[in-house]
Assembly symmetry: D2
Homo-oligomer: 292 residues x 4
């Protein structure tokens, strides 16, 4: 398992592939636009002309792309990964997609004799660069064990949740909590604002109390300055909340606060904050309160 094929060189994929390279793996890369590979190639990575070629050369192929339809394009078709796959090879999808899509891809890979893991990550660009992501895996236990050395390079920890789709399920759960926590912080902050308390002091109070979170520390400046450059866009959070509630509906889980939070993010997007960071939900609540 020395040759790793990497597909997807976005802001997460590049530092992750670079970490594998640094750790001594032979890394082959493919990306829709080749320029994004330049830096990695300079660092020793090699270019493959297609996903198919990657699959032929490498023991493991990792996809880290924008969503289920991008994974689909990379796996299927004449030059797709599946076309180059042979028995015993592994495909790891680290994108955030729905559990149903994960299970579908797992089946496609298994049908070609391969092994599949869904392994989305919790954490954004900085932990991707530092190799301190949290990796959420679903698939066969022994496939997961075989891939652990890679996960140990990419993340500070990995958790194997069970069969295919369980990794992406766990990702929906954590993003639901992320969205709801952001809403909780924002509503509490709005109440503080309305009662005349100073925002900075309230954020300090939160920081020193039982409700302090890494999330709060990351978003504190956004909330203070009312500037919301997208680290994780509100649009994307809205999409994940939608997937979480769809799953809740299908599994008969009544989530009353989550349902309302989803509609707040929806309204935030429809009133023009979709491209901002998801912490801009605070901005939306302020507008609703006539405070802007």
């Amino acid at each position: 398992m020395n040759r790793i094929g990497w597909i997807g060189l976005g802001s997460m994929g590049r530092p992750m592939a670079a970490n594998l390279l640094k750790a001594g793996y032979e890394v082959y890369v493919y990306n829709r636009t080749r320029e994004k590979a330049d830096e990695l190639l300079a660092q020793g990575a090699r270019w493959a002309v297609s996903p198919k070629e990657l699959a032929e050369i490498c023991d493991v192929v990792i996809t880290m792309v924008s969503g289920a339809s991008a994974v689909d394009r990379m796996l299927n078709g004449e030059t797709g990964v599946l076309a180059g796959l042979s028995a015993g090879k592994m495909v790891i999808d680290m994108s955030t997609i729905s559990p149903d899509d994960s299970r579908r891809f797992a089946k496609q890979v298994a049908d070609r004799g391969g092994q599949f893991l869904d392994a989305p990550v919790s954490g954004s660009i900085k932990p991707a660069t530092d190799g301190t992501l949290l990796i959420l895996a679903g698939g066969k236990k022994d496939t997961y064990e075989s891939c652990r050395p890679l996960f140990d390079v990419l993340g500070k920890n990995s958790i194997h949740f069970g069969e295919s789709g369980m990794g992406t399920s766990a990702k929906l759960v954590i993003n639901l909590l992320l969205g709801m926590t952001m809403e909780a912080i924002s509503e509490s902050l709005l109440l503080a604002e309305k009662t005349g308390l100073q925002r900075e002091q309230i954020l300090q109070m939160f920081s020193e109390s039982g409700v302090n979170t890494p999330l709060l520390q990351m978003k504190k400046q956004n909330l203070l300055n009312e500037q919301f450059p997208a680290a994780f866009a509100l649009n994307l959070m809205l999409k994940d909340l939608g997937l979480a509630l769809e799953t809740a509906d299908r599994t008969s889980a009544p989530l009353p606060a989550a349902a309302v939070v989803h509609t707040v993010f929806n309204a935030a997007k429809e009133t023009g904050k979709g491209e901002l960071d998801f912490s801009a939900v605070f901005l939306h609540l302020m507008e609703m309160a006539g405070n802007q």
Copy 2:
């Protein structure tokens, strides 16, 4: 400011008074039932026959009681604190009451020539014992400054939010966030449960991610074992959420998720979980989902 009068020897008041004693203050205590004072008296505290006597003897009187009506009883009446108060003395109320009640008591104390601070705390029994509470103060700046040495004994930090009532306002804000965060954790956990994920793994995932909180660490065992011994009773959280929403209504702050969270806690209480810890809202959500 060497003689401190302490009123209220519940599970929070006793360790707090003990810390002042240890720090070298002369502490006089009064409590409705005298037995609760035995241990403190053995440690060197002295008994006062009434709140009035406390006020006559001491420079500062601190109340740490169950609510606004208890504060009222201690301040007013023939043997109350106000009857013994003279110009320049200070009264600090550390109970959790509404901002309106704080302002009322501040006025009563000022009318007698005294100075008043509302200074509720964030933190429960352990930080009260360790002297690591977070103290949330409202009242005149110089009164606050005079009392800081006491706060430095009782807490790891204190914040002065502004005029009378601002301390109790801040307390409502942080308890709102506490209640909403507990709901967010519980709903996310329920979704995980329904999709077949293991609770222990999900709690581990939360613990290692951006949504980790001291709160989660405190309640983790409750959630795992479905045992909810009250550290902070659901009933009391419900009361605070009610006060927060009442304040939101009066200040025209639309808090959609908070409004729903309040109804969930209300239903949790009405279906019999009021005396349990407020993390038992998870138990309630599980029941709603037919999982118990």
Copy 3:
């Protein structure tokens, strides 16, 4: 019971007093600004110089004013109704106030030997003019029976719900349903809009189905033309929803949808629709959906 004292000549009070006059009652009126009485005086009503005088002259005094503090001003003080009240006289308050306030006024009247009814009405200007209001009464059964002839003139029906405060409780309940129904219509209409259905056809569909209401018929033109002249201002509906939820909190009634509806009306007000009709909540939802 021939002499009726009437206090409050707003848009509801004037036609109601006129109906009593037409029915043959001797009507004495008092109002803060005298001009509003001109028309009634021309029709045969007589002016009283104060609420006290009204109470001295009349068997029954009816208040129909803007809220609890206005009722308070009319009842109390040197020239107030209570100052002129003697045993056996009746005071009927038809304003919309809280059950607690009703009970307080009932006690004040009883302390003077009088009898009190809270009797708010369901219905707006047109039914007030036509004498087809629905009257919601609380107080002693025999007091209610004595007043029925008056209610038969003012309304198409009256209901006696029980002791003092029960009339105003019933009023909160019906206004809660009114607000929630308006929200339900508005959200359904928004979904229709977003799926490309024609608003007029959808309103026709509602009108011919099991969800048709007199309310829908009254507001249909508003919804079609997106013009919301206030028949019942959103501000006032928001106030009533607030009172209803406060009552729900005090009586431990978890009302999840009502809680959310309240926050929607709150946001509608804070974004500038408080003076419009309460059906303008549709406008607010449209804005939230980026449709304006």
Copy 4:
């Protein structure tokens, strides 16, 4: 257009087919279990051995079955309607399915040269029997016009909302309003209950006011007696609310109260009320309030 083929003889289908028969149409029927046809056959209907045969014999085929998968089974396969369809024939689906499914079936029928209408109905068994349903149609305008004589027999009115899928969209909208109205009635009634008002009087008040609905009249006895025999099962309402919210998500319509209502119905089902009438949501709210 004299020969009508009817598929689906459930509690709605039978009286509807009988009405066509009474109106003089030649009606051919097909149903999975033949016994359900006995009464209609005695009244003059004729039996077809398969959906295919129906399509060969008749000008119009109407499906009134349990859901999209049942429609699918009737249309497709060797003995399905499509196998017997020739150019110019019409297929009308009156079942409640999703707009996406309607569009899919419309395409399948068009591919065989036929014309398709989605025409779900508003109304239950009594209006089906009386021929007073409200028919909600989507599809080509001229197809709709050709079918109007049939709709005039089956319903008191029909509305053509536009292209394929618009009939089923309208159905989701009206059922959303139905569910939300039921929730609104139930929450208001719960508040009344908690404040000590009599349920019967409150229902009378609702009945005489602006919020009266045919729905309320239909469910009044259920609410009074706390007996909820299913006229429209809570399970089915929950399914429709789920479809409505899915559509809302896809079309970016933030529906905050609807989102919460959905979770209440979900919890009502999960706590065992799925098979009862959807008005049993009142029972669920009462339980949440500790009133049962």
